[in-house]
Symmetry: C2
Subunit: 343 residues, 2 copies
DNA sequence: AGAACCAATGCAATCGTTTGCACGAAAATA
DNA sequence: TATTTTCGTGCAAACGATTGCATTGGTTCT
């Protein structure tokens, strides 16, 4: 059987309540007793039962993770490993551990979150995506449960705490960068359209074009699911146009890999015949050939900051919802655009 | 406040115990009562408190994940996302959720596991690595706690349930494959030497050489930490030899990327001047250039099977420790070895 | 010396479930 | 009709902690 607080109490000749206070390091217990109790704890190999504790003080020291509904697929994108790395680092620093449910359908994910929250399994939740009209975010907001989202939530974003990259700005910058290199025909390949990232990045792209006096061609804007395979189709569509572009902004490194691989198969060389720039600067960006010019968005930092905000929110009872943190980004120039050096 | 079982009981005009039995769908409760209670549950929006439940029936419906100690680094390897994907799929199917602690040092990880187990936070544990002399495995075994390891545990592997690839065989096969293609000078670049995978794969490599009558040169065997950067050094060392190899077996796709990237920088073309074959067949293998010939080891399946074994172990009280599952592998031929087609 | 106080600890209720056992009513048996 | 079974519920004791409110003995006032 398990060693309980009572066993320790008996061994140390005190009451259970005293042991509990020693664990909490209460100032009301004398130094001498504390030592005696602590010794009894080691001797017996005592470890507190987390459930009993959670039940009594209504706190869990755990943070819930909500992955996109097709969790089983998206998890393949190193983006997620990286955010989780950030989250888990911060969480660990503050004595929290992580808890995740997954679900195949959107409905399953929703159910998972509800039972996580209502069942009091976690103290707060990090949402790892942001989509239009999301039930999960809506639910969390209604239940006044501490949560933060990574990415920009759509509806009512002013009341939701979130951590994000300035994707609009980044989109604008890379587009201008390509223009500076002399490109006039610039295309955009994005991921799923209901994702906030995609919309923001394409928005920046359009703005940049306008600012540079280049007309926007809808046929230059294609979207596909977020993974590598999507890239292939997109490329084919663009190249079959009357005036194919000479440069392309791709919304994600993974997809850029797919794009480049397809270009390679079709005998089109990067960057000579087609410049490619993308976002996220995953480690693979460095090792692709040619190495990808990509926007470093500090994914680790997104997770880390998000968790930071969440913990703040958990601790302060005075719920100051609506905080937003923008993590800075910068362009890492490699060889996929031809442009050498420069920051 | 939370809606409790008592509220439901009152609403449905029954005793709390009856409500509990309805939740468990006990056959001792009449159909009529069940319906009445269920209705009361929806009406009030009842969700069971997981901690109270865990406390009472000493079960958590959660599985613990143990990552390698430098979790913050290793998590970058897509291998882990992929195993976790497998684990989480199976877990979800059986109503389990995942729980993870991380730690920077080996000691922290150990502490995490101990408090996870002793604190009764999980029903079982899957260990995502296997190293010589590992405290964690030792502890789990001593406490007779359900666990399974992904990879081959060293000590006493006959009493430990594990799921693994036949890395020895795979190492032998790829080496022979290179030999068939005409290579005589074949090197091996491996990861950390205290990892079981590395040892097994290099073992297979050596066996193959012996079987083909090729002498083993220790200078052809280099090892480096498991990530891309390690690859660079390894390559430099090999190329500085008097008789540099013409082919190399690399222990991991990530590292192979590093190797190829370095070769590229040094102006050595793959596969013409150097053939490269590696393991794991991560999605990036397909999109590198040239695309990597790699051993598909079904990482998802490893995680899935491991969880399957774990759940079995949790359910059966008669602990049948020592089960082993070998997940089959096969070579995926792409272009990094020059050899076209063939299975 | 008696009142008032303080520091250190113990008592017992509480958190929300589960579950062995007891109980009464209805059904089956004798 | 009296007696045993069966069925459907309720009672109350766990599970292992936390915490508000006594209680105790010893100081420090006046």
């Amino acid at each position: 059987m398990q060693v309980t607080i009572k066993d320790v109490a008996r061994e140390a000749n005190v009451a259970p309540s005293t042991v509990s206070r020693v664990i909490a390091n209460s100032s009301r217990i004398s130094q001498k007793t504390k030592e005696r109790v602590r010794q009894a704890m080691d001797e017996l190999g005592y470890y507190p039962n987390v459930h009993a504790r959670s039940l009594a003080n209504r706190t869990t020291q755990a943070i819930g993770l909500v992955m996109p509904s097709a969790a089983t697929k998206t998890l393949q994108n190193p983006f997620f490993s990286e955010v989780i790395r950030g989250i888990s680092t911060k969480a660990h620093q503050n004595g929290y551990s992580l808890y995740m449910t997954t679900g195949v359908s959107e409905e399953e994910v929703y159910e998972g979150v509800v039972s996580m929250v209502q069942g009091r399994r976690v103290d707060g939740v990090v949402v790892l995506y942001s989509r239009t009209d999301d039930k999960v975010v809506q639910f969390l907001q209604d239940s006044k449960f501490p949560f933060v989202v990574v990415g920009k939530p759509f509806s009512d974003s002013s009341h939701v705490t979130y951590v994000d990259t300035d994707n609009y700005l980044a989109g604008r910058e890379v587009t201008k960068y390509l223009h500076q290199l002399g490109h006039e025909c610039i295309a955009f390949v994005g991921g799923a359209q209901d994702l906030a990232v995609t919309q923001e990045r394409v928005g920046g792209y359009k703005t940049a074009l306008m600012e540079e006096g280049i007309p926007i061609q809808e046929s230059y804007i294609v979207s596909a699911p977020f993974m590598t395979t999507g890239g292939a189709e997109a490329v084919k569509r663009l190249l079959s146009l009357e005036h194919p572009p000479t440069a392309v902004v791709v919304s994600d490194d993974m997809m850029a890999l797919g794009v480049m691989s397809t270009l390679n198969e079709m005998g089109i060389s990067v960057p000579d015949q087609m410049a490619v720039v993308s976002f996220n600067n995953l480690f693979i960006a460095e090792f692709s050939s040619p190495p990808l010019t990509s926007v470093e968005i500090n994914i680790f930092g997104l997770g880390f900051e998000a968790t930071n905000c969440l913990i703040e929110q958990i601790n302060e009872d005075a719920t100051p919802y609506g905080k937003r943190v923008i993590v800075p980004h910068y362009l890492v120039v490699r060889q996929s655009c031809g442009g050498k050096s420069e920051a």
